[in-house]
């Protein structure tokens, strides 16, 4: 599958829909040749990207480190949660606790790598929140794990830096703003629905950020770094809005 799809594509339904879209598209191909859609012109792209950066600032302004994402009841939790990545579920990274190390880099005081056991030893909290995908679907899930903010503090990260970046075992990358990283509901989710998070949802952990869209919640994280230089990310580099708050 050449199309790169992550965190926002329902596996099978999307493929059907794409086929439907493409078939309709080829029917309308002749009318499209007149090119009345100006989206791909470079000047239009420049304006759209500038507006996206403006939206980054607007969303950072709207964000409050005190405002919590709404939480839901245990009975609202979806257990058959959607698997979502740009590859089939059979290809998910299967990391073994024995070999796994969480690498730290950038503006972090203590860069010694962490084992799974060490992460599990941190105080944990649970949340039942809504995962909202940039495509429009949403699902309520239960995630548990230590606060990313507590972790960053413990390793001596520069909390006045601008960005926290992630690198993942599947080649995915992402980055968030520091205020979101230290938000009380931003956690390193070791558990999903009270069970150790399975490989398809990001074992050993997924960074769960209920104040951001789904694609800003990286799975299979292998490196966390802190920086003042804009790090971008897998989807962000393809034009998706960087802040993508919810």
């Amino acid at each position: 599958m050449s199309r790169l799809v992550l965190e926002r594509k329902p596996e099978v339904t999307t493929i059907e829909r794409r086929l439907f879209l493409r078939q309709t598209l080829s029917l309308g191909a002749l009318t499209l040749l007149t090119g009345c859609d100006i989206s791909d012109h470079s000047s239009v792209q420049t304006v759209l990207k500038a507006m996206s950066r403006w939206n980054d600032r607007a969303q950072a302004f709207l964000f409050s480190d005190k405002r919590l994402a709404p939480t839901y009841a245990e009975s609202d939790v979806v257990h058959d949660f959607r698997y979502n990545a740009f590859f089939p579920v059979s290809d998910v990274p299967r990391l073994a606790a024995a070999n796994y190390r969480l690498e730290l880099s950038g503006l972090i005081g203590d860069k010694r790598p962490w084992t799974v056991e060490q992460i599990y030893a941190l105080p944990q909290q649970s949340q039942i929140t809504r995962h909202v995908c940039i495509e429009g679907w949403s699902m309520i899930g239960k995630w548990s794990g230590p606060r990313l903010g507590d972790f960053l503090q413990r390793v001596g990260a520069d909390l006045s830096a601008k960005y926290v970046g992630f690198e993942c075992a599947d080649g995915y990358t992402g980055s968030i703003d520091m205020p979101t990283a230290v938000h009380p509901q931003t956690i390193m989710a070791l558990k999903f629905a009270d069970e150790i998070i399975p490989a398809k949802y990001g074992y050993p952990f997924k960074v769960r950020i209920p104040t951001k869209l789904g694609f800003k919640n990286p799975k299979w994280v292998t490196t966390i770094y802190v920086t003042n230089r804009y790090p971008g990310g897998f989807w962000e580099d393809r034009g998706y809005n960087w802040f993508s708050g919810s």
Partner: protein
């Protein structure tokens, strides 16, 4: 209807200022913003429909670029452009809408042109319109038109607010709750759009029937001979 001759001459040679420049600018800015919002919104809808029915908008009616080109440029198959358009044009739509509503109230445009409306007048004009017997005079709105303009203003307002509530279901969670939660707010947003599209169909049809209204909205003034409805 008997009208004194000199008045008839006067009205038949009417050349009045119908729309001040500010209103014309806001109308066309709004038109452009609405078209971009609908076109990009339809593309976004197709990626994960809010309604539980098997229905999608044909891609050629949507805004977001050519699928093949987008894939070649940014390795994405078309959602990204639609989102960029939607969240860029929303600022234009909202700011222009606010300006229009404020100017409408302050200048007296709403009071003069969109009021009063009585249920009796609405019913009378509605059935007259259905029978094709509703007169039209530039610069004066009948009761059906008045209701339609209030209706589309309300539809735009609801669509903006429900849109904000699905854009920021955490930061604006009170608004999302007002629309019945995230999932239901998406449905409200869809039907708000549908109401606007419904208005547009009628609006454009009537403009085609009375093209002078288009001239008036472009140049501000137009000479008009009132044309009464058949038999009235």
């Amino acid at each position: 209807m008997s009208v004194p001759a000199q008045i008839r001459t006067e009205t038949s040679a009417r050349n009045i200022q119908l729309h001040p420049l500010s209103r014309r600018i806001m109308h066309w800015v709004n038109a452009a913003a609405i078209i971009v919002m609908i076109g990009s919104g339809w593309r976004i809808y197709d990626y994960y429909p809010a309604l539980p029915v098997h229905f999608g908008f044909p891609p050629k009616w949507t805004l977001g670029g050519d699928f093949t080109i987008t894939e070649a440029i940014s390795n994405d198959d078309g959602l990204v452009n639609a989102l960029l358009w939607h969240f860029a044009a929303m600022w234009v739509l909202v700011l222009n809408f606010l300006a229009y509503v404020i100017v409408g109230f302050v200048s007296g445009h709403f009071r003069r042109d969109f009021l009063p409306i009585s249920p009796g007048a609405f019913l009378h004009d509605f059935f007259a319109a259905l029978r094709g017997r509703l007169g039209h005079q530039l610069g004066e709105y009948n009761a059906v038109q008045k209701v339609f303009y209030w209706g589309v203003l309300a539809a735009i307002l609801v669509t903006i607010l429900s849109g904000l509530s699905i854009w920021k279901p955490v930061q604006l969670q009170w608004l999302t709750a007002l629309f019945g939660g995230y999932e239901f707010a998406r449905v409200v947003h869809f039907f708000g759009m549908a109401a606007i599209v419904g208005f547009l169909v009628v609006h454009l049809t009537l403009t085609a029937l009375v093209p002078k209204t288009l001239v008036a909205m472009v140049f501000g003034r137009v000479s008009d001979t009132p044309h009464p409805g058949n038999g009235e």
